[in-house]
Amino acid sequence: MTGYILRRLAQLLPVTLLASLAIWAMIYAVPGGPVGAMVGENATPEQIQAVTERLGLDRPVLVQYGAWLGKALQGDLGLSLQNRQPVMELILERVPATVQLGIAAILIGLLIGVPIAILSALHPGSRLDRALSAWSALALGIPTFWLGILLILLFAVELRWLPSASTYVSIFESPGRAIMSLLMPAFTLGVYVSGIFARFLRASLIGELHADYVRTARAKGLPERDVVGRHVLRNALLPFITIVGLMLASFIGGALVTEAVFTYPGLGRLLIQAISTRDYPLIQGAILFILVIYVVINLLVDVAYAWVDPRIEYG
């Protein structure tokens, strides 16, 4: 098991390195390069010269990358241009909020999507199936900013049940308030992702329902709820793990629009702020951090597979 995880990590290393190179090189694509980005458009040549030397930008490119990567590995992603705080600190500040929102959104998505998938897979082609498929299409089709605004209008402005701007409250400190502030942004994301979950799981379930082992289970005289619950669902959930993992990674990587609509203090909003103020070290740091999140969640998905499916060996 440990060996398996180590091997998977070793396989991910080249990908991560390559991506980090691209992220680092990004700053050279900016007009004026990294120095231009720091000093602005109206800087004098002397200022530019001074900053170039201070940042070591006169060194060979690979040396610069090596220095940046070396620091990044130690958790030093540089200072934010805006407020001179360490980038790493700024990111870590936002992580709990983002993780909390991501997990809440996934849970709501599963809560809506899985029952829809099961109901429509058990009666494919029926009116119920068509109605539920329409829900999935709607869930995927509604832009999240629009649904978010509608929710705010209804629950915050009209009914005044929920706060319009979400703040981060840890679920471990004050569960009630945390849920209140999470409800709308998590629901907005959850609705969207429930459409994806319902579609994938429905297709996977329909495939499994035609499998021979299902006929065997019925021939044993198992009640239908055991046939579906014990036999079909377990097999259908295997490919589904990948989708759930990917969606979780994408939410933690930043639910940009939703966080903006609800002014939720997550990683997504941090990234948007960084982009709008051209805070390049912060952009680089945030993207690198998101990359690492993707890699780690993918690894967790693979480990979960090997754990759930007895046919996969930790070879």
Binding site: G3, A219, P223, R230, N235
Partner: protein, 685 residues
């Protein structure tokens, strides 16, 4: 007599989908008594599996069932789902065809064996694990306590089917329905599983319905036989009667189209045409378009015959039952090609010498090579121009890998492959391509090996385009002539594979292989996926083509009867090596390797009462990643001595025969090696 255990009257099953209703079963009557084995024979689409699913209420919702099915006095048709569920697993146990797919891959075997009983409230959850071990022990699974916790992928095919049998028997059902229970298994494993099934049936006194296309299995196992065609029973009789004096032309057709191990070479007599699809059943007698008696008769075309008493205790549905006997005696036209051993030409076309194909096993962080799968481990064979070499063996023995290595589709790890005097293992890509013009491959599965989005004309023309000789070899005219050659109508050229039946698709595959005028065809199980009557048509076509075009065949198959029918010489493979090779007649009449002897003895012969004496090999084929020491066959061999475990035997000529064999103790089978007939029956009971 009391009411039979199972009684079916006027059963009709119609599928109502989006289009026209499709009748799958069109009115059948059946009775099965306790302790009786009823065999149901039929080709695909005859309605035999639908009948079995109707008995247990497992048909999909689109099926409409009419008539009466009574099991143990309880009416099944129209019963509430809960009543049917209580019947399944308790009164009726089912065994399905493919044990690989019929077990759930993510649940432990032991749990799958007992969960039905738990669901029925016949077993407490706490007692289930112990009961699972008992049940697995009853079906001879070694180390049942350890095995009960394992998953299906850790079982071999034969063990999986034993587990399925244990599952079906768990509730001591009064009726067992076995749908093609051994079709997916190798012949030596089939023998084990059939013996087990008979033993458990005898122990429980259950009634058995055995559904199969294999007349050999029926002859050995069934007490009574029902033959189904186009959704109806066309003949039913005790097993001895139906094989000795069939009363329906279709039964005669099935028997005559079957290549047999126990008969001298004769041309197979296929049934003409295709089995009807359930949506388009001919008028009158549904068999009349294919029937030698009824094809031209007005009565057969217009009037549907009913089942009438025929023979001492059978029934048949034919207007002209009295003419069937003459049909059975009729011999096929004499001028047709029959496989007779030919005088060998001096020059072999293909010489394979010491061929090895090893696949590395990689493990660990750095993917270090930790072992080798010796898929092919020193195979030597020769195919001469115009002759057929049959390569037989059970699954996993390396026969397909050998074929693919000869084709250059897999790289050889060692040894040489010489085609027409040229060593092709040393050729570069261009050289290999030039050789491939002369060596072509026909694949097993005619459904998967044709590209579904291209017309058959494009499929057959593709090799011509690849080699840039489309115009040079006659273009569209060449493709049309290939269609004539394999017996397909030119009007079908523009159609897509899905519009063809299995037999027709295999003809397309053969036409594609012949497009480049090859000298050698590698035929990898070309008839294994086809129905008996279609199989005979294809085998005859292959033999005619060989006679006409002077082709050499390497015929790879697991079916010893088909191999015997088509081959001039035969090589038997076991675990990556050839253990015995000889002329067809010598090898089948006087096998000297114990493995060949057991293989031949395991084949069920379609002749009731003939095969009582049988060597049933223990265990399964070992894993080629860790083959046994010395002779790879020694752990399963009845002649094995200490020497066999240490020293691998050389592949050398056997004195007095034109046979080569790899065995320290080669020699004809002696009387005391065969279990005596009564003893065998005792072992089976």
């Amino acid at each position: 007599m009391a009411e039979p255990l199972l009684s079916i009257r006027g059963l009709e099953v119609t599928f109502r989908g989006a289009g026209r209703p499709v009748p799958a079963v069109r009115g059948i009557d059946l009775d099965v008594a306790a302790d009786e084995v009823l065999g149901i024979v039929g080709e695909s689409g005859s309605g035999k599996s639908v009948t079995s699913l109707a008995m247990t209420g497992l048909l999909p919702g689109t099926a409409e069932v009419r008539g009466s099915i009574r099991i143990g006095g309880v009416e099944v048709t129209g019963a509430a789902p809960e009543v049917l569920r209580h019947m399944r697993g308790r009164d009726v146990g089912m065994i399905f065809q493919d044990p690989t797919t019929s077990l759930n891959p993510v649940l432990p075997i032991g749990r799958q064996v007992t969960e039905g009983q738990v669901a029925h409230g016949l077993l407490r959850t706490a007692e289930a694990p112990g009961r699972a071990v008992e049940l697995l022990a009853e079906v001879d699974i070694p180390d049942p306590a350890g095995r009960a916790l394992q998953f299906p992928h850790q079982f071999s095919g034969g063990m999986r089917q034993r587990a399925v049998i244990a599952m079906a028997m768990a509730g001591r059902p009064r009726l067992i329905i076995a749908d093609e229970p051994t079709t997916a298994l190798d012949v030596t494993v089939q023998a084990q599983v059939l013996a087990l099934l008979r033993r458990r049936q005898a122990a429980t006194g259950a009634a058995v319905i055995l559904i199969t296309h294999d007349l050999g299995v029926i002859a050995e196992t069934a007490d009574r036989v029902a033959v189904m065609y186009a959704g109806k029973i066309v003949e039913a009789a005790p097993v001895a009667e139906i094989f000795a004096r069939p009363r329906h032309p279709y039964t005669v057709g099935l028997l005559k189209s079957l290549p047999r191990l126990d008969q001298e070479a004769r041309r197979l007599v296929p049934i003409q045409g295709q089995p009807p699809t359930p949506g388009a059943i001919p008028s009158g007698c549904s068999f009349h378009p294919r029937c030698p008696i009824g094809a031209a008769r007005e009565r057969c075309r217009s009037e549907e015959p009913v089942l009438r008493a025929a023979g001492p205790s059978g029934v048949a549905a034919c207007h002209f039952t009295h003419e069937v006997e003459a049909l059975l005696a009729a011999t096929p036209e004499a001028n047709a090609a029959v496989s007779t051993p030919r005088a060998a030409p001096a020059e072999p076309l293909l010489v394979v010498d010491g061929l090895r194909v090893h696949f590395p096993i990689r493990r660990g962080l750095l993917r270090r090579q930790t072992g080798l799968v010796r898929a092919v481990d020193g195979v030597s064979l020769e195919v001469r121009a115009g002759e057929t070499l049959g390569l037989v063996g059970e699954s996993g023995c390396g026969k397909t890998t050998t074929g693919r290595a000869i084709m250059g589709l897999i790289k050889a790890s060692g040894g040489s492959i010489t085609f027409a005097g040229q060593d092709i293992t040393r050729l570069d890509a261009a050289g290999l391509r030039a050789v491939r013009r002369h060596v072509q491959y026909v694949f097993q599965d005619p459904y998967a090996s044709l590209n579904p989005i291209r017309t058959v004309e494009e499929i057959v023309a593709e090799p011509l385009h690849i080699h840039g000789v489309y115009d040079a070899m006659g273009g569209a005219g060449r493709v049309a002539r290939l269609f004539d050659l394999v017996g397909l109508s030119r009007t079908m050229l523009g159609r897509y594979p899905r519009e063809f039946s299995g037999g027709q698709r295999q003809r397309v595959g053969i036409a594609r292989a012949l497009a480049l005028e090859p000298r050698l065809l590698i035929l990898d199980e070309p008839v294994a996926a086809l129905d008996v009557s279609i199989q005979a048509q294809t085998v005859n076509l292959l033999m005619d083509l060989q006679a006409e075009l002077g082709l050499a065949y390497l015929f790879i198959a697991h079916d010893l009867s088909v191999v015997r029918h088509i081959s001039d010489r035969v090589a038997v493979m076991y675990l990556g090596r050839i253990v015995e090779e000889g002329t067809r007649d010598e090898l089948y009449a006087r096998p000297v390797h114990p493995y060949t002897q057991s293989l031949l003895s395991a084949v069920p012969v379609p002749e009731p009462g003939v095969s009582g004496r049988r060597i049933v090999l223990e265990g399964d084929i070992p894993n080629p990643a860790s083959p046994p020491s010395g002779c790879a066959f020694h752990p399963r061999c009845y002649r094995a001595t200490a020497r066999c475990a240490e020293e691998a035997p050389a592949f050398v000529p056997y004195p007095g025969l034109a046979t080569r064999v790899a065995c320290h103790h080669a020699g004809p089978l002696t009387a005391d090696e065969l279990p005596a007939a009564p003893a065998a029956n005792e072992a089976l009971a």
